[in-house]
Symmetry: C2
Subunit: 229 residues, 2 copies
């Protein structure tokens, strides 16, 4: 994404280009297309029943989103995420999630707060039982809620992009009952700081939360997540 893609939130679902864009994006994030795999315009076009033109336009956007790298006159390749990238993103995120949480204090709606509380309650249930799929969903939704609550299109979009970007790696590492419970407890603390309108505290807690998530990821073997493939 480009940085401040505060516009085509609904990257036109109905144009062919939009459909290609969303489909390929999903397939990369879900792992269907592996790192360094070459994406051919014709092949993708045929698969989706469209010509090369919309595929090419979608590729140009995916490149700017950082999901593929286009080498002129050669081809489009799925980009890899290095260990450094992941570290950088987490450090960047930790600061911006702090900012986001502090802004959310002022702007969160009762409905959003309500959903946050539900989210945490439900997450506790699943965490205790080791339902990691559901935990991952709920974790994403919690952060998504906070991004919406900060009421800044700019920041919301930026954080959403980052969150999505590291999701490729995250699934492999967020899977112990202890961390799930701890993570959820941190969510609850952040939520309570927001609820009591304490921006400074919300800021600190959200910042710490991302740091903890990163530390946990490193402990659980970020590097191994790569070499195992």
């Amino acid at each position: 994404m480009s940085v401040y893609d505060v516009k085509n939130e609904v990257t036109d679902k109905y144009s062919l280009r939009g459909r290609v864009f969303n489909k390929v994006r999903e397939d990369i994030l879900s792992g269907k297309y592996k790192e360094n795999e070459e994406l051919k315009e014709i092949a993708i076009g045929e698969e989706l029943g469209v010509s090369r033109t919309p595929v090419r336009e979608a590729f140009r956007q995916l490149e700017l989103e950082g999901l593929i790298k286009i080498i002129p006159n050669k081809g489009a390749y799925v980009t890899g995420i290095t260990v450094e990238d992941v570290k950088d993103i987490y450090m960047i995120r930790s600061r911006l999630e702090g900012l986001c949480a502090s802004w959310a204090c002022e702007h969160i709606t009762p409905e959003q707060l309500e959903e946050m509380e539900e989210n945490i309650y439900l997450a506790k249930f699943h965490a205790e039982r080791g339902h990691f799929e559901q935990m991952s969903e709920l974790d994403s939704r919690f952060h998504e809620l906070m991004y919406e609550a900060c009421d800044s299109k700019m920041l919301e979009h930026l954080l959403r992009d980052f969150h999505q970007y590291v999701q490729r790696v995250r699934r492999k590492t967020l899977s112990t009952i202890e961390r799930s419970l701890a993570s959820n407890a941190e969510h609850q603390a952040i939520m309570e700081a927001i609820k009591s309108n304490d921006p400074k505290r919300a800021d600190e807690l959200a910042t710490l939360h991302i740091h903890n998530a990163y530390d946990n990821m490193v402990k659980n073997g970020l590097k191994e997540a790569y070499s195992n493939e």
Copy 2:
């Protein structure tokens, strides 16, 4: 730009698409194309002597960069920057420039440090004489140097994008001798913190620097900068 465009740094200067992209981008940032102006594929294509295809691809990228908004089946329009956008960007930047400065402590090279010191020395000369054009150049270069010195492609790219994005607004507001001198003094303090390898202090100073820049912008009438047009 998308967020993590850590790839086509040289958005292929030699493909037609790359040329169109760069040209239109420049023209928007320089103000040749005004806010809400409609950009027509054929017109731009003829102006640059290319067909619609590369123009369309460039447009798709510019959209993701946030510089234009494409309304399906209708057209491409130069996006405006709202007062909220500017505020958000400055708040985001303040945190990330802090992070950048702290990382620069570890990774800056002697050459980069050398150029920073030159930059500050030269800026003092121009600031005292009210050479605002040169000041703007030097200011940009100082930040650019810091982005390079942090040794994180991710952060470097992100900050560069933001910096460029607000440049459209910045020129109008950074033009008093007092602020120029103060800004340069802040640069010097940041540089010295980096030089003495004090990440915490560099972080704080850089964060504060952006806050000050923002406050100054607001004082000098950010809103007026818009209504005057």
